[in-house]
Symmetry: C3
Subunit: 170 residues, 3 copies
């Protein structure tokens, strides 16, 4: 819905960079991150999202064959949500019922789904970066994440945040 | 305790704007948001708080007759805390006992209550903005929130954050 | 591993200050805060971490004799984690099993432990500030925290954040 054209309408400058560390894997928090990211893009900002710890799960590809993992990595991989469609609410999840209700309302109110928000963000040029240290700790491999995800460390995050005028941790 | 005079003492300029996204409805986190907001106001900053998702509950009016809602909205409305006095601790809430203990200590140590912090923030000119998309999702209506709350979308948030030098997500 | 020399390599200026409010006592979140803090230091920034509410527990000294406390303070002190080694994961803690797994992986992958990250941050000049209001509420005394921790209020935080170009709330 928001294409690259929206970005071109406004001159983009250094001071308009936005970064968000997506630490959480809660559906509602990841949703908030992408709503802000897409909004900022539409207003002409460069946006980079850094996915770290649990947040990495939002980038997993639900259809992906599990990559080669050791036993502990497989256990973690099995217990953590595989992709944006499998995240839970941070509150009132009620075994998925609360989430289903929220998703129902989103559909009725014509709010873009989380997967749509992610696809739209990628299409418009939001950079999605997976934290390499977290990938190591969680046992999440590059090949099990959605296409177009970059990888990087804390130095890369800080370099982006240095020139960002809005830097959030979610 | 802190009146508008505190704001007038210091020249307010663009670079001194502060924004906080209040995503959480945890008593302790909302408390932290208002302590920072009131502090920033007293030091001469413009402050805008954006209430989104669960955070909206901090703005509900405990005495308000429920607005007209559909069944799902009523369910959510019933299960979520109605106003600042009904929020829970993010940890050690223990069915309200932990919270009661914290509130008891606050009273003893003469720390302003959350409701007082909210009233003081409003009196001094902190802008309280409820996120329209979240209101839609959660089924929270403008008329069931405390007086003086504005409504706005992500574009309004980003406009404020753009000129803010401290932008937090709580 | 990162010494003061890293800081001296890069000229430090006002615009390069970083602040993080460490509100949470979750192992993973405190870890994220110190990874960012140490990274920013190594890149030449001044870094101040403000520990507030549950975050204070990360600064408790595990070997410290309990300071003089009233009954409620003792109860809180007993129930809250005593120091960085006692924190829990925000998710998948599973009675400590998830955390032990993560710590095992960290050791195997040669990732510095949280205690090492804290020591390294202190050695390199990260300022660790405990929020005085939170200390009062939680009953945590200065003498039960690790050496080198400063204390300060919200005004001190805002003063630092005012000249910071990356200000996070974790």
């Amino acid at each position: 819905k928001r294409g690259p054209s929206a970005v071109q309408n406004t001159p983009s400058d250094l001071s308009k960079k936005k970064t968000i560390v997506v630490f959480s894997s809660d559906f509602d928090k990841v949703m908030a991150a992408f709503v802000i990211a897409n909004g900022a893009l539409a207003m002409g900002s460069d946006v980079t999202l850094f996915f770290t710890f649990w947040g990495l799960n939002a980038l997993r590809n639900k259809n992906c064959e599990p990559a080669r993992k050791n036993m502990i990595e497989s256990m973690f991989g099995f217990m953590m949500p595989r992709g944006a469609e499998k995240l839970s609410l941070s509150k009132m999840n009620m075994g998925g019922m609360g989430l289903r209700m929220i998703k129902g309302i989103m559909k009725k109110k014509n709010v873009a789904s989380l997967s749509e928000l992610i696809a739209s963000a990628q299409a418009s040029g939001v950079r999605l970066v997976a934290c390499t240290m977290s990938m190591d700790l969680m046992g999440i491999k590059k090949e099990e994440m959605i296409d177009g995800v970059e990888t990087g460390g804390v130095a890369m995050y800080l370099q982006q945040a240095e020139s960002g005028n809005v830097n959030l941790f979610i």
